[in-house]
């Protein structure tokens, strides 16, 4: 499961909430308590946050509670008001739900929340969001039995092909809404209580695509969040906006871009990564585009006009626009995608090793080949390396401490990983002394052979005898 589900799910929840809010005026009727598994790591913190979100800090004061349940029921009783002692309805949203049922902690919070939902006095709903399918298995028995077992599964865009999805998103994210110049005031009127920056959701956008008048409207919330005056947008020149939008549309007709997008969706359907790419690509271009196209307005306002960018703001392609290149560069776009899908960081790390270090890695690889992947220690690697050096008189000899240092450097870069001595055949019986000397500590190679091959092949300044050694025989 990727993060995508999570993101979509969160957006969905937000959008549902927003729509509900706009229709029902949720703020008054109902209380929303949001908890996040990342932030609220234990029950105490969660309870504090609940208290704060219910605005009951004053009521609690210095009171001391025996148990978690007592505290929670007190909070609920505080909310009850009026003659019939009815309580406002409540929605608990638990993000990163799996972290709440982490094995390390007792699931008191979940137990209590679920327990109260069965209680008639407080109308409430608990909504958990997670990207783990197996989350049910993590629940305690008593918690599981109280759970209503209503699941909603959301998968990324089953109905359309992901390439098409990317294409649509590209247009949506990069185009500038024309309506801005005309009816900027209108956006502020529309009440959109987006609680977080993801103000516009996919669902909404589909609606909006049909509905031309409010297309790409910037939510007021976003503007206030970024503290930008919406009036500024009215200064945009409409013609240049039209020009820009047509430029974006023309991008999709470019074969290279379409190919690159296809490649990307071959690797990932994660929308957040796609946004990152767009940002990297445009980041350099922006200043002038803004200056060239929209006068003195800066990129911020420009990006503001792309409301969907707000949820991630990570417009990698956008960040490359500048005075000299006011257009999105096709080649640049393709390279950014290439860099994202195939970063090959391990190969780069290997390439940046000095020749001595790389030789040690090769020596280790060959040693492990001979002994069926048995871990090796420094002495063995040194022995192999020495054998190689003896065969090639041209290589300079390096003293042992320097080689040891190079070996330690490899370990620091986690190119080689230490093996726990218990699961190796050599060190059984070593019980008296806690540690083994560093020369005899066993290591395995942590880089796959393929990466090493790639690194040796593409390395520029590598002496020929080393690549020969790598490719050919074992000494």
């Amino acid at each position: 499961m990727g993060l995508k589900e999570m993101a979509v799910l969160q957006k969905l929840i937000n959008s549902v909430l927003e729509q509900l809010e706009s229709e029902l005026d949720l703020e008054n009727d109902c209380l929303i308590v949001k908890l996040n598994g990342l932030l609220h790591q234990d029950d105490k913190i969660a309870l504090k946050s609940i208290t704060a979100q219910m605005q009951l800090e004053n009521a609690v004061g210095d009171r001391v509670f025996g148990t978690f349940a007592e505290n929670l029921s007190f909070l609920l009783s505080c909310l009850q008001s009026g003659a019939d002692r009815s309580c406002k309805s409540m929605v608990f949203i638990l993000e990163e739900f799996d972290l709440f049922c982490h094995s390390g902690r007792t699931q008191t919070l979940l137990y209590n929340l679920f327990d109260i939902t069965h209680n008639k006095q407080a109308p409430m709903c608990v909504l958990g969001i997670t990207n783990r399918l197996d989350v049910m298995e993590m629940l305690e028995k008593r918690v599981k039995s109280r759970f209503s077992h209503r699941h909603i599964f959301i998968f990324p865009n089953d109905n359309i092909k992901s390439v098409d999805n990317y294409k649509v998103r590209l247009i949506q994210l990069l185009s500038v809404p024309l309506c801005l110049t005309r009816k900027c005031g209108g956006t502020t009127k529309k009440k959109r209580g987006g609680r977080r920056k993801s103000a516009i959701t996919e669902e909404e956008m589909e609606v909006e695509l049909n509905d031309d008048t409010i297309q790409y409207a910037v939510p007021a919330k976003v503007l206030t969040r970024c503290r930008v005056n919406s009036k500024k947008f009215q200064e945009f020149d409409e013609n240049s906006l039209v020009y820009w939008n047509s430029h974006i549309l023309s991008l999709l007709e470019n074969k290279d871009i379409v190919n690159a997008l296809e490649k990307l969706c071959y690797f990932t359907v994660n929308e957040q990564i796609f946004r990152n790419i767009l940002l990297a690509e445009i980041a350099p271009d922006k200043t002038s585009n803004i200056e060239g196209l929209f006068g003195e307005l800066s990129w911020l306002e420009w990006s503001m006009t792309c409301p969907h960018a707000k949820n991630a703001l990570d417009f990698q392609v956008v960040s490359r626009l500048n005075e000299t290149s006011p257009h999105i560069d096709v080649a640049g776009f393709v390279t950014v995608i290439d860099n994202t899908v195939g970063p090959e960081h391990r190969v780069k790390v290997l390439q940046s090793l000095s020749i001595l270090e790389l030789s040690l890695v090769i020596a280790m690889k060959q040693g492990m080949e001979i002994f069926d992947g048995q871990p090796m220690n420094f002495e063995m690697v040194l022995h192999r390396y020495k054998k190689f050096v003896d065969k090639n008189s041209s290589t300079q000899t390096v003293p042992r401490p320097v080689i040891l240092k190079a070996f330690e450097h490899l370990q620091e870069l986690e190119v080689i990983m230490p093996v726990r001595s218990t699961d190796s055949i050599y060190c059984t019986g070593d019980t008296t002394t806690s540690g083994v000397q560093k020369e005899y500590k066993l290591y395995t190679l942590a880089v796959p052979e393929h990466d090493l091959k790639e690194a040796v092949k593409t390395s520029k300044s590598l002496p020929t005898e080393i690549s020969f050694w790598f490719n050919n025989e074992i000494f």
């Binding site: 990727g2 993060l3 996040n36 598994g37 990342l38 932030l39 609220h40 790591q41 913190i45 704060a52 799996d98 990207n131 783990r132 920056k197 970024c226 503290r227 930008v228 994660n270 957040q272 990564i273 940002l279 990297a280 350099p284 922006k286 200043t287 990129w299 911020l300 990006s303 703001l313 990570d314 960040s319 970063p343 960081h345 391990r346 780069k348 790390v349 940046s352 090793l353 000095s354 020749i355 040693g367 002994f371 090796m376 220690n377 002495e379 063995m380 022995h383 300079q396 390096v398 401490p401 320097v402 240092k405 620091e412 050599y426 019986g429 070593d430 008296t432 000397q437 020369e439 005899y440």
Partner: protein, 460 residues
Amino acid sequence: MKELLNKVPCRENQLNTLLDLFGEYDEPLPYSIFISGSMATGKTLCLTNVLDYLRYKQITIDCIECYSPKIIFETILAGLQDEDVEIKCESLSDLTNCLNKFGDDKITYEPIIIIFDRAERLRTMDQTLMCTFLRLREFCNLNICTVFVTHLAYDNFYFKIGALEPIQIFFPNYTRDELFKIIISNHKTFIDEMLRQHNIVEDILIELNEKQLFANFLNAFLSVFYRPCRDLIELQHMAQINFIKYCEPIIREEIKASDVDRLWRHITPVLKSSLAHLYLRISEGKPVSPSKENKTELQKLYNFENSLKEELMSTKTFAQSFELPYYAKFLLIAAYLASYNPPKEDKRLFMKNHGKQRKRLQQVKAKAKITEKLTTQLGPKVFTLDRLLAIFYAILEEKIGLTSNLLAQIATLVELKLIAGSKEIDLDTAKYKCIVGYDFINAVAQTVDFNVSKYLYDLI
């Protein structure tokens, strides 16, 4: 902009990417950036210079200094506040609350950058910590961006729960030409360093200041050192030491500065020998500015340091520097033999009449051919006190009694960290392990005329 590029040479690509991503003052920042690259490739240098140039608010957190989440949170909050206030922050939710409060007070959407240096340390803390920092922007209403600086690749960071992928920037190592360019731009510091150590006549100084001379030296230097080391800091340090040696004959007016060939011949053995000290940082121990009154004292210190250096340089002198007593030497050798010989073979190695084993010996030898399985490669094995004493008496020709004095020598060897084990001597349970290398033991054995290799199972 030009200035920035001059300040950080050979890193145009990375600088531009960073500048592009951070953008202008009123623009939204990316969520998080992940910067990786080997040691001394200018990661932090680029980052801080870019941020200084942009004048963004930045908070740098060294993850070694801030070893617990609580300290990290408090450093972040302290960095945000302009004046010194007592800050208490226990958990992540406290942090986001404080950040939100801070954001509400602000009128502008000010960019804030949090840098985590040596971010690989974050992995040892709570799993969720780094996940949260990767998406910190989501949790608070600030224009905030987290930057992770580390020498590991992103692949080495794995999270059990899904994490937001950061934008990744990789800093490759400097190539040979780039190293040359950077070191040569520091020419002046090299000359200054030399002036501190030598009194130089004016016209020689002019000769030494020549760029060509330094370039020649650097070429020779890199041809030796580039192979084992790519660390700019270390290379610069070694170059400094060796450049002075390179210039010494010129200062003494033995070799002319223009005589490149002779200088080359003079420096190559020096470079070769100093290669042995790479990374070891054995100080030259030269007093910086010896004043008259304590000169003798300094001289003494200098001599001491020099002799210490000499001792450290070769295992032989190092081994002799212990000045062990005669029996202790034999005990140490016995310990070494006990550690590196299989107990099964003791009888054959140390007894005069060990019976006929000729036939089996060949099989054993054939097996022993596999070098990786040799004990000398696998490390020392544990042995008991009984075995140690038995071997000790076997290799010692004269007959001496087992006195408490002798046993005390074992304790001394343990104290000196030549043998690992418990200090108390308990005949029943004590187990030991010899932790010195072959070179060391050979040096010790030579002083008592003993041939170690004759008694080492791997070598016969």
